[in-house]
């Protein structure tokens, strides 16, 4: 296909091209909704069946890190939206700055995620043959990163959950399978988004995006906000299942 300036050959006008690209991204996001939807369904049914195991599993997550990440991601959505605005009004250097900010915030999110994953790995909470929900209770020395107070509450919860759910280990494993499945898939989307941001950044440094042509910024923005929305649901569903006793 030949290409004149920013217009691809199959289109008649830039307007048509932009509309088409936006519609394409929206429809792609629909498929993403259903993609995550399958996991949400699995989550719903299992959480309903095994409330104790899910509450117990959820309480092992660090609510501060989760909350921090929520703020970071929403902030990155704001900077992304500001990036789009800067392109629309023609402040080309601002575009670059906002894209860099978004990228940094996205990177922060992923970094925190790595810290969280690492801790779960150390605590034998990665689903598979070595999964053991009572690992920390059994060998506290290996979970030295938990404060004694935190460990004590965890042990108490574990005891209670085991009383309520005799097959706790398997059911907690289901929770963690879903936790890693859902957050992992979300993180994968973040990584893809970060890649797209890098590409935007490269183009933006070249001064490509302005009032006349900003479709890519807008499209990547849509994607980035969608990833944000997924997290808006994941945070309460995974971190806040059973915090009501003030845990």
């Amino acid at each position: 296909m030949h290409r004149t300036g920013e217009l691809y050959g199959q289109f008649q006008t830039l307007e048509q091209q932009k509309e088409t690209a936006a519609l394409g991204m929206w429809i792609f996001l629909v498929t993403e909704v259903l993609f995550f939807g399958g996991m949400f369904l699995t989550y719903t049914i299992n959480r309903h069946a095994y409330p104790a195991a899910f509450g117990m599993g959820s309480n092992t997550l660090d609510i501060y890190l989760g909350g921090f990440n929520t703020v970071v991601l929403i902030l990155s959505s704001l900077t992304m939206a500001m990036g789009v605005w800067s392109a629309q009004v023609g402040k080309k250097s601002l575009v670059t700055i906002f894209l860099i900010l978004t990228l940094i915030l996205g990177g922060t999110f992923l970094g925190v995620k790595v810290v969280e994953y690492k801790q779960k790995f150390d605590h034998h909470l990665i689903p598979g043959y070595h999964f053991d929900i009572s690992y920390c209770a059994k060998s506290p020395t290996n979970c030295a990163d938990l404060s004694p107070a935190a460990r004590e509450t965890e042990d108490k919860q574990l005891e209670e959950a085991e009383r309520l759910d005799p097959d706790l280990n398997n059911h907690a494993q289901l929770y963690f399978s879903l936790y890693f499945g859902m957050t992992g898939l979300h993180a994968l989307h973040m990584i893809v988004g970060a890649g797209l941001l890098l590409w935007l950044l490269k183009e933006s440094v070249g001064g490509r995006f302005g009032p006349a042509y900003n479709t890519p910024v807008e499209i990547v923005g849509l994607y980035w906000h969608f990833v944000d929305i997924v997290w808006i649901y994941l945070f309460p569903l995974l971190y806040l299942i059973d915090r009501k006793a003030g845990r």
Binding site: L23, G38, N46, Y50
Partner: protein, 545 residues
């Protein structure tokens, strides 16, 4: 033949493998789905030969289970789903709406590569241990108990899903934003309507099968428990997720074929299609209602009775739009000027076979009757009538109909008619006995069977050899015609669509100038440019200008 067209625009293997021309991508797809069709077809022949005797003389049970599983996987995911949309749809939709290409040509090419990668994984699984879970991958058999190469197959189908999603996405966006001036929604060919509906199913359903198979694959690889009751999971949940896609996927296969038939019938009856808006609307209705019937595959899993009743009811509702189409096609023939060209033979064959397939769907949707015929050969016969009798007849018929447009050459008419009739007869001989087998109680996926079922099985195998011939024949003469066929000219039938207003084969840009549409679809009466008038001598239809 025109001097410049998409086939000779550029040369060399690179110009094909890196093309973004929707027509060339369609041909790439044509080659690859044909490849999978022959793989799947070979498995099918082996299955039928094996079932000649009750005691299973040809292959071991392990091998037999692999044969029917791989037949299903190759045919469903790598032939039927991409066949009409990715070949004919890809080739025709931009031309039919007067566009230069699809909205996202590079994504179109990407979808073909994704298909190839997915296909390679599946072929790898076939060659390294095969696959013996049934194409439905029911857990915990697939995720825990099977000893075959499930993981690569699941990965392959997961990857292939994205090919389907991207194709659907491309079509929907294209239909929305790329239509030529004057091409309003209700001037769109019904083929485009059908593909629009198909694309809806593709984008809304495919992600769910992708995530489901991903979960099943992860479960198998890492000893997780989503669907394994021993670890607290629920095998029935897998079936819900699986059929949420796989039932609508049936409509991915049949809707495009219905679109093809809706093009062929008015062309060869030379009159407007009866009830255009009803046919268009019923395509959308099928796509939407098709999403709320999936649990009729699960009536006997211990499904909640109320849920079963609701799903049975909805399954009957989804039969109505299909009935509308059949009635409208039949009525289109009334007072037509019907010719006996090959595509028309396929279209009429389609109506007959789809009728049987659709009506036997009513048996299976019936809760009481499903108790007996569920998971028997009745089901096999039913869905082969839809899939092979419907979708494949539509595909082969469509290939004949647009072959002159794709290649610029005509196929040998007589041989083609012989092949069409052979297919029809062979098909009925193969699959009709299976309805009776099913009602007699022969369960599906059986390597051996009680001797009282032998007569019908022999009939079925005999029919399948005729059927095989019916597929082999077009394969030969179509390839032959690419070189030796008569020159077709832009509009050999003649037909009314925009695709017939351009050269055969078309230019890379499809049209010399952007077309302006000022006629209604399937209107023969007011289209002087077609050169048709009662009594007037016709420009030679199969001419060689």
């Amino acid at each position: 033949m025109p001097r410049d067209h998409y086939l000779n625009a550029t040369y060399g293997i690179r110009s094909w493998l890196l093309t973004t021309d929707h027509k060339r991508i369609a041909l790439l797809y044509l080659a690859s789905v044909t490849f999978f069709f022959f793989i799947g077809g070979t498995f099918a022949s082996l299955i039928r030969i094996h079932l000649l005797t009750p005691n299973g003389f040809l292959v071991t049970p392990e091998m037999y289970n692999r044969l029917f599983t791989m037949h299903g996987v190759a045919m469903v995911f790598f032939f039927l789903i991409p066949s009409i949309p990715a070949v004919l749809g890809n080739f025709l939709i931009p031309i039919m709406i007067g566009a230069k290409d699809l909205a996202f040509p590079k994504i179109n090419l990407l979808s073909w590569y994704i298909y190839l990668i997915g296909g390679s994984f599946v072929l790898y699984s076939f060659m390294t241990g095969g696959l013996d879970t049934g194409w439905t991958f029911y857990t915990p058999l697939s995720s825990v108990y099977s000893n075959s190469a499930v993981t690569p197959a699941v990965i392959g189908i997961f990857i292939n899903g994205f090919s389907s999603i991207l194709t659907g996405l491309n079509f929907i966006v294209t239909v929305h934003t790329m239509r030529a001036p004057g091409m309003t929604w209700f001037r769109l060919p019904l083929f485009v309507w059908a593909h629009y509906a198909t694309s809806l199913v593709m984008i809304l359903g495919t992600p769910v099968i992708a995530i489901t198979l991903l979960l099943a694959g992860l479960e198998r690889m890492f000893h997780l428990g989503f669907f394994n009751p021993a670890l607290g999971g629920d095998p029935i949940l897998f079936q819900h997720l699986f059929w949420f896609y796989s039932h609508p996927a049936v409509y991915i296969m049949i809707l495009p074929a219905m679109g093809v038939i809706s093009e062929i019938i008015p062309t060869f009856a030379r009159k407007p299609i009866f009830g255009y808006s009803f046919i268009a609307g019923s395509s959308i209705a099928i796509a939407v209602i098709g999403f709320v019937v999936w649990a009729h595959h699960m009536f006997l899993t211990g499904e909640a009775t109320y849920a079963a009743i609701a799903f049975s009811f909805l399954s009957y509702v989804v039969a109505i739009p299909s009935a509308i189409k059949v009635f409208n096609w039949t009525s289109t023939l009334y007072k037509g000027s019907i010719s006996y060209d090959t595509p028309m033979l396929y279209a009429l064959g389609f109506i007959g076979l789809f009728l049987v397939g659709g009506l036997t769907g009513l048996f299976l949707a019936c809760l009481g009757l499903d108790i007996h015929i569920h998971d028997t050969y009745f089901v096999i016969a039913h869905f082969h009538y839809i899939m092979v009798g419907g979708a494949v007849m539509g595909y082969v018929g469509g290939l004949h109909f647009w072959w002159p447009k794709i290649t610029g050459k005509l196929y040998p008419e007589f041989l083609a008619r012989v092949a069409a009739v052979t297919l029809f007869i062979g098909f009925n001989l193969t699959f009709f006995p299976q309805f009776i087998l099913g009602y007699l109680g022969m369960p599906r996926r059986y390597h051996t069977y009680p001797p009282e079922f032998q007569v019908l099985n022999v009939m079925s195998t005999a029919g399948s050899s005729i059927l095989a011939l019916g597929y082999f024949l077009p394969m030969c003469y179509l390839v032959w015609s690419m070189r030796y066929g008569k020159i077709a000219g832009p509009n050999p039938w003649p037909a009314t669509g925009l695709e017939w207003k351009t050269d055969s084969p078309p230019l890379t840009e499809n049209f010399h100038v952007t077309p302006q549409v000022d006629w209604e679809p399937y209107d023969f009466k007011n289209r002087k440019d077609l050169g048709l008038e009662a009594g007037a001598p016709l420009a030679p239809a199969h001419g060689d200008d």
